[in-house]
């Protein structure tokens, strides 16, 4: 599903933030990405969700070598990825409902087809009564849950989440993780960057840790 070979990344003329990163995410796997603040977690995720090209090395996504893939094919690849951004990136002028529905609209689905799905999902993340609210009127945790709902609503092949439980209490955190696990059970490959030890301990999942820009395998999937 995702393959990195000797990937290096630097911003402009700065130091290398990622160095010789090599790993594989198997289809249907569930993985945590950990590391201290500033270790390069967001940077690594941005390479996977095609926000930026690597400075060196090879990134393969859905069996496609991105360095030789035509730009015109990128949108179709991007639509197969659901992303929860660390800073949410909700569209401020759209309601919670419309934000969540956006990936479905981009995929060409009609409102009467997806209306019920979107409403159910919003209820599931505990926002059933705030569907028409604009992001600015919602708390950080509520916005985060909308961002998560938006990332999963189109059942992506690959889900990338950057600190998805950073702004919610433990109970809602557990609920969100169950959502990811459920999606994973249905076939989505999941990669979550987090600081939240409790979250990691509660799951039988692989953990990759970034230390000084290098990747360290902490543990493989637990039995």
């Amino acid at each position: 599903m995702v393959r990195f070979e000797n990937v290096g990344m630097r911003y402009g003329a700065g130091p290398e933030v990622l160095r010789d990163v090599t790993f594989v995410l198997e289809a249907g796997s569930f993985t945590f990405l950990t590391g201290l603040s500033g270790a390069g977690k967001t940077t690594l995720l941005r390479l996977i969700d095609m926000m930026q090209p690597p400075s060196r090395g090879l990134v393969t996504l859905f069996s496609r070598d991105l360095s030789v893939t035509k730009r015109s094919e990128f949108p179709a690849l991007r639509r197969r990825i659901g992303v929860v951004f660390q800073d949410f990136r909700l569209l401020p002028h759209l309601s919670a409902f419309d934000n969540v529905a956006l990936p479905l609209r981009l995929a060409g689905r009609r409102e009467n087809e997806y209306e019920q799905d979107v409403e159910e999902l919003l209820s599931w993340v505990g926002l059933g009564d705030r569907m028409r609210a604009k992001p600015a009127t919602l708390s950080g945790g509520e916005q985060q849950r909308i961002a998560i709902a938006r990332a999963v609503v189109a059942r992506p092949d690959l889900l990338i989440a950057d600190e998805p439980t950073g702004n919610v209490d433990a109970e809602i955190g557990q609920r969100l993780i169950r959502l990811f696990a459920e999606l994973n059970r249905l076939g989505t490959t999941v990669l979550i960057a987090t600081h939240d030890r409790a979250l990691i301990e509660g799951m039988r999942a692989r953990e990759m840790r970034l230390v000084d820009g290098r990747l360290v395998e902490m543990r493989t999937q637990r039995p």
């Binding site: 969700d49 949108p75 991007r78 990136r89 401020p92 956006l102 990936p103 609209r105 060409g108």
Partner: protein, 299 residues
């Protein structure tokens, strides 16, 4: 990908007119004024030429020592005969005493005294359209038949008017061009400035896998509609201006004598629609080009 109304829902619907919409409306108003003025100048210049260039006036001037009377009448008749015998002259007729008086009345009044003034006799002649009349020969013939005759083919008057009309027309076109450029620049600038504010949205939609075409179309439509609206308001105000000036003239309020009428005819009004149409297309093209260029910058 499903476009249609989905594309519209992606951009915020603006409430009321943005400051840039007001600037666009004002520029469109000025552009429509300049366009209307060019149309009027062009039409007026054509009218002047058509009205004068095929005419000829022959004056029989009373000799200073003589009292007006029989001599003048005889010379007038002789001049008329010469004119009517000249090929290329379609029509020749003397102006009556009353008509002549009416001509001079604005300058010297209509006093009883005027009736005793030695007025020249005037003959108005029309040249067959397209015919070439040898003026030198005609003048010579007329001098022989009527020694006190003077031929005026308005040539000097016409050439001056022509020059004036051309100067006015070209100035109007020049101003129109300048304002058109300024309007185009304003529209392009407004569109680009608006897009800056939406950079986040563009980047997000791009990241979510929206096709560049789809994103560009949303913006195109957005700016086409808002620019069209703003410039329609400007052009409509200009049309209203021309209509009300025309209305004043129609109601008998004279424009300054000798200046062309300022009213735009109803049939000429649709030309003003060019202003919003062109503005809308510029906004559309600018939005498209800017969005696609911005998207190429992103990975």
């Amino acid at each position: 990908m499903n476009l249609g109304r989905n594309a519209n829902a992606i951009l915020p619907r603006e409430k009321g007119a943005a400051p840039l919409d007001i600037v666009i409306a004002i520029m469109a108003f000025l552009a429509a004024l300049a366009l209307g003025a060019s149309l009027i100048a062009e039409r007026t210049a054509l009218g002047w030429r058509a009205g004068l260039s095929d005419r000829l006036t022959v004056q029989i001037v009373p000799p200073a020592q003589d009292a007006p009377g029989a001599g003048l009448d005889r010379e007038t008749d002789a001049a008329l005969a010469v004119l009517r015998a000249t090929p290329g002259i379609a029509h020749a007729a003397p102006l009556s005493q009353d008509q002549t008086l009416a001509l001079v009345q604005p300058w010297i009044g209509s006093d009883a005294l005027v009736a005793e003034l030695p007025l020249p006799r005037l003959i108005d002649a029309t040249i067959t359209p397209g015919a070439q009349v040898d003026l030198a020969a005609l003048t010579h013939e007329l001098k022989k038949a009527a020694p006190d005759s003077l031929v005026d083919d308005h040539a000097r008057w016409i050439s001056r008017l022509k020059a004036l009309a051309e100067a006015i027309t070209w100035s109007a076109y020049g101003i129109l061009l300048l304002i058109a450029i300024a309007t185009a620049a304003t529209v392009a600038f407004a569109t680009r400035a608006g897009l800056e504010a939406y950079h986040e949205i563009v980047a997000l939609l791009h990241q979510m896998g929206a096709q560049s075409r789809f994103i560009a179309r949303a913006f195109e439509r957005h700016y086409f509609v808002s620019t069209l609206g703003a410039s329609l308001v400007g052009a409509a105000l200009a049309a209203l201006f021309f209509a009300s000036v025309g209305g004043l003239e129609f109601a008998g309020v004279e424009a300054v004598p000798f200046l062309p009428p300022l009213g735009l005819r109803l049939a000429e009004m649709p030309w003003l629609l060019l202003v919003p149409a062109v503005s809308g297309i510029i906004a559309l093209a600018t939005a498209r080009i800017s969005v696609l260029a911005a998207l190429r910058q992103i990975y």
